[in-house]
């Protein structure tokens, strides 16, 4: 009796869950509302756990890694000096380049408006390579806009809220970017291979003049998803499967995707 009652209850639970999930799938608006509500509910718990765990973590990390931190600080000071020097040089070069691209009527990322944002959260799962950033619709950030950081393209905005946005990184399995190299005569598609596996390009024609170290940039084809010239990745290895008519290319992202703290959202939409 008790068993049949608990079984009936179990089936009721199962059916309810299935129904709720089905409804949520079919109504994207409800999902969005539910996400916001759930975020509000979980935030105090995350905040409390963080408040307890973070100081302990910092204490432990500080005790263990102090010499590394000092060494890293010195290295950063040196790099900052170099960057300042380069920035001064780049200023003049960029102005020249902008004048030239304006004359040729080619869009250039240097001339596009950007919104700086801070990375607030990493993807909570290893099955999706995404980050949440601190700027959203209220700052002009819209779905589809490219995001750059650390010297290259890091991804695309996939969803926005008034005060935040989610960026799908180029290493995500659902990401693909049209790229070119050299004189821009050959176009390839770079695909994400998952959080830990970097990037790759398959079905690359044998006649393609790729070499390890070649820089690939967005091709900016008409109707494409990115403006031209954004550095995406460098070639690391080129492999040819025996009997295959195309290369498989392994790539290293130009931007260090593991240490992204601040990003720039390029206020550029594919239709523009």
């Amino acid at each position: 009796m008790a068993t049949s009652r608990s079984r009936r209850r179990l089936w009721t639970y199962g059916a309810t869950v299935a129904l709720v999930v089905a409804i949520l799938y079919t109504t994207g608006g409800v999902v969005s509302g539910l996400r916001t509500t759930a975020n509000l509910v979980v935030t105090p718990f995350s905040w409390s756990v963080n408040a307890v765990a973070r100081p302990l973590g910092h204490l432990f990390a500080g005790a263990v890694n102090y010499s590394d931190v000092v060494a890293q600080n010195e290295k950063l000071r040196y790099e900052l000096g170099q960057a300042r020097l380069q920035a001064d040089e780049h200023w003049a070069l960029e102005r020249q380049l902008q004048e030239m691209t304006t004359e040729l009527n080619v869009p250039f990322v240097g001339g596009l408006t950007m919104v700086a944002a801070q990375v607030t959260t990493l993807s909570p799962t290893s099955f999706a390579a995404t980050v949440d950033i601190s700027k959203g619709r209220n700052d002009g950030v819209l779905s589809g806009m490219p995001v750059v950081a650390n010297g290259g393209l890091i991804g695309t905005v996939i969803s926005t809220t008034p005060h935040g946005a989610t960026v799908r990184l180029i290493s995500d399995v659902n990401s693909s970017v049209g790229v070119t190299f050299g004189h821009g005569t050959t176009s390839l598609v770079v695909s994400g291979k998952g959080v830990n596996n970097g990037l790759g390009a398959s079905s690359v024609p044998l006649a393609t003049a790729l070499r390890p170290g070649t820089l690939l940039s967005t091709d900016g084809l008409s109707g494409g998803l990115f403006p031209p010239g954004l550095p995406v990745a460098r070639v690391t290895t080129i492999s040819l499967t025996p009997g295959a008519a195309t290369y498989d290319v392994a790539l290293r992202p130009s931007a260090d995707l593991r240490h992204v703290l601040y990003v720039d959202v390029i206020l550029w939409e594919p239709s523009t």
């Binding site: 199962g14 799938y25 999902v31 996400r35 995350s46 409390s48 990493l122 099955f127």
Partner: protein, 170 residues
């Protein structure tokens, strides 16, 4: 059961909070340890079927609202693990008090090994066939080891929450 739902929900939310605040950035070989899957699993192993399913739903639902993977996948994984584990738990297999000390960690390790596969398989149901291209094997191994280590302390918490429901029944 109904009296245990309140502490169960609170503990589930703390676990989701811990998952998001600590385990998201504490990656092993790039893999996130999924505490939100271990939680319903240990409740199931303690023999509480309905509570395990409820834990899977609550933890999975709140976790899924923070992830960009298809909504509801973590719920399905949690519920499946809880149901499967509760079949063993009801027989006394995997229960901390009645089974050998190593049985619970071993079953949890097995659950941790299988859970990412379930996630990918349920992903296929939502026509998302890209999930397996990530770090599936790494996720299986890392979660198995993490579940092995965390099984006993988590099972103690699960037992305490489950007993609250039993006390209310008496």
């Amino acid at each position: 059961m109904s009296r245990a739902l309140v502490p169960l929900t609170v503990v589930s939310l703390i676990i989701v909070g811990t998952q998001l605040a600590i385990f998201t950035s504490l990656r092993v070989a790039g893999v996130v340890i999924m505490l939100v899957w271990l939680w319903p699993l240990v409740i199931g192993l303690a023999g509480y079927t309905a509570l395990g399913i409820a834990a899977g739903v609550v933890a999975g639902l709140f976790f899924d609202t923070h992830a960009s993977t298809p909504f509801g996948l973590s719920v399905l994984v949690g519920v499946t693990l809880a149901y499967g584990a509760s079949r063993l738990g009801r027989e006394g297999i995997g229960d901390l008090d009645s089974a050998a000390w190593w049985v619970t960690p071993l079953l949890c390790a097995l659950g941790g090994f299988v859970a990412p596969v379930l996630f990918v398989a349920f992903g296929l149901l939502t026509l998302n066939d890209g999930l397996w291209r990530g770090s599936l094997l790494a996720a299986m191994v890392v979660n198995a080891v993490a579940f092995l280590v965390l099984a006993r302390p988590m099972a103690r918490v699960a037992q305490s929450v489950g007993r609250l429901g039993e006390r209310s029944r008496r």
